[in-house]
Symmetry: C2
Subunit: 409 residues, 2 copies
Amino acid sequence: MALIVQKYGGTSVGNVDRIKNVAQRVAKFKMLGHQVVVVLSAMSGETNKLIELAKSIQKIPDPREMDVLVSTGEQVTISLLSMALKDLGLKAKSYTGSQVRILTDDSFTKARIVSIDEARIRADLDSGHVVVVAGFQGVDEQGNITTLGRGGSDTTGVALAAALKADECQIYTDVDGVYTTDPRIVPEARRLKSITFEEMLEMASLGSKVLQIRSVEFAGKYKVKLRVLSSFEEGGDGTLITFEDDEIMEQAIISGIAFNRDEAKITVTGVPDKPGIAYQILGPVADANIDVDMIIQNVGADGTTDFTFTVHRNEFTKALDILKSAQSQIGAREVSGDDKIAKVSVVGVGMRSHVGIARSMFKALAEDGINIQMISTSEIKISVVIDEKYLELAVRVLHKAFNLDQEPA
Amino acid sequence: MALIVQKYGGTSVGNVDRIKNVAQRVAKFKMLGHQVVVVLSAMSGETNKLIELAKSIQKIPDPREMDVLVSTGEQVTISLLSMALKDLGLKAKSYTGSQVRILTDDSFTKARIVSIDEARIRADLDSGHVVVVAGFQGVDEQGNITTLGRGGSDTTGVALAAALKADECQIYTDVDGVYTTDPRIVPEARRLKSITFEEMLEMASLGSKVLQIRSVEFAGKYKVKLRVLSSFEEGGDGTLITFEDDEIMEQAIISGIAFNRDEAKITVTGVPDKPGIAYQILGPVADANIDVDMIIQNVGADGTTDFTFTVHRNEFTKALDILKSAQSQIGAREVSGDDKIAKVSVVGVGMRSHVGIARSMFKALAEDGINIQMISTSEIKISVVIDEKYLELAVRVLHKAFNLDQEPA
């Protein structure tokens, strides 16, 4: 008998039939003798609908009231799933974040979990109940309703699994696992049996939106066994997220190819090469609350330097305007930008112990005439920025170059 | 400066524009220097939508989960109104029933309020906030969400007014007060400046659905000054619900004509006239959870008696079937029924000190050829059951007979 936390996303509970399907799946695990805690998101589209409603009342909705509003989304699904479970003859009980007491800080709309009181859940499990918990939400010290921000239901699932010392946290989603890359671009893309937390973090932050990043960090910190599964297909094993110190089932050098079309780059050229210049350039950008991703600086020959960084494409114009206003103060020759770029990354913990990955990557891209505009590396990934029109080609080329369509030896 | 509790029903907060209108009205009271607590229902139609959703999952939805589900309706409106108030530059804060701590018993879907912790609300009022509270809901000792049953938002308003010792509890609805009868039937019907609690109870239970009965009982018990007002028209004074020991502004003998089309009558004739017969007849009906309204028994000449009672029309067939099965056991000659009836009542505390009201009533009906099938009286009302086709005529005749179109002297 195991204790399993299962988290189902918005599409998995998007209508009455799907909620009944989730109940059937939960019932199967229960019949096998497992204890099951279910964490749910709101029905897909519901949270956005509520946000739109709020904006039609107050242009920038009050954060405290926003959380009161959007937290109703999961309250609806937990009650409906509990009814569906009872309809199958199971004992079931729903809890809002506040009822469990998922204590968070008071940062409305982006709260962080401080602690979880697992006593009530434990008692219900011991008396044979399926416990159905609202994801994404909690309560602060003052009893105000809080939410964890977008995708926070994954975090709730992992945090509950950690608090309950669950045997496994299963994240059900509309994909059946983590792939070597997006199968819509590379049909040969292969589902990974396992992936390390570090790789998953890189894959997630680079745009493989299978899991919310914070939940992966959480799982890593509390050593929660995390598995990504499809809520629509039966019988698959999904992808297990492993720790590097676990026995690793497949030891590939490269696990996958991630990519991101949401970035734009800004280049400041002919800047006097003196201390403090990076701060002078990025200071005003940070003051405007714009997140910067890649940053590259090259020393030039004539005592000046070129500085390039990427931002989210939505903030491209704003960032460009800021730097153009600051241009003369910085003493730059030119400020230019390009929002027709894409970032492609190879990710793999194997890089740590293997040399020549970067060379193989650059060679493969060069052979197909793909020009590299920026390069950035970390311990387990190499990212390049290229013209966005080459994105699909680059992903296919790299997937093939690293033999990702084949199971590792 | 007064402390006012304002309750707005579902149609008053039925869409974004109406919510903004409520915010404007609240702002006016706030600007006059009053402290305001607002109690809200769910948007009109929302609760029914959620109930339908539940029934599509579980035929008879689990009551605990039902309350988790439907309580989201008010949670949506309180957050939206708080945003609208903030948008007008006011300080505002929303509370669910559980957050206030409106403690109830654990009778899910029809809970009763046990106590209200008014400390948080008081503190917010003192710091200049408008406090927006979800009607219809509470929380039990175990922290489970409960609801008060249909129309329970009125009860929340009155209970909060009692707990806060508010100067007035204003119930905003889609009518601008309590009328001498339904203006759709009698165009001359007049809005009452005031009505006593006892009369209101009779009017409400007889089908003038302006206020939920339980809220009127509550107001009477805790001496809460209650006023019914229109949320769509400006400037009216509505109808004040008074206590009999208050100075009464208009002392009419009869306050209004109430009526009810929802009943059906069942007659058991030729029953042996012996002790226990009423129990024998009504026992099986009560066992089937069918509410009985009027009951009349007449002793006959031949040692038998006739027994007639009314039930809600929805339960007519069920009740009739029960009695037909029990007929031989009771020893009745015949069991018959009629669901084409209506009940009309004259209501007025003045009856206590005036004689001849019944005679005037029966005379007026007789003059227009309306046959009376049943009569039932209480201290402040006289009800008759007639053929439903005479209902409108009877209401008009009685309204005129008691001069209800004219202000009392």
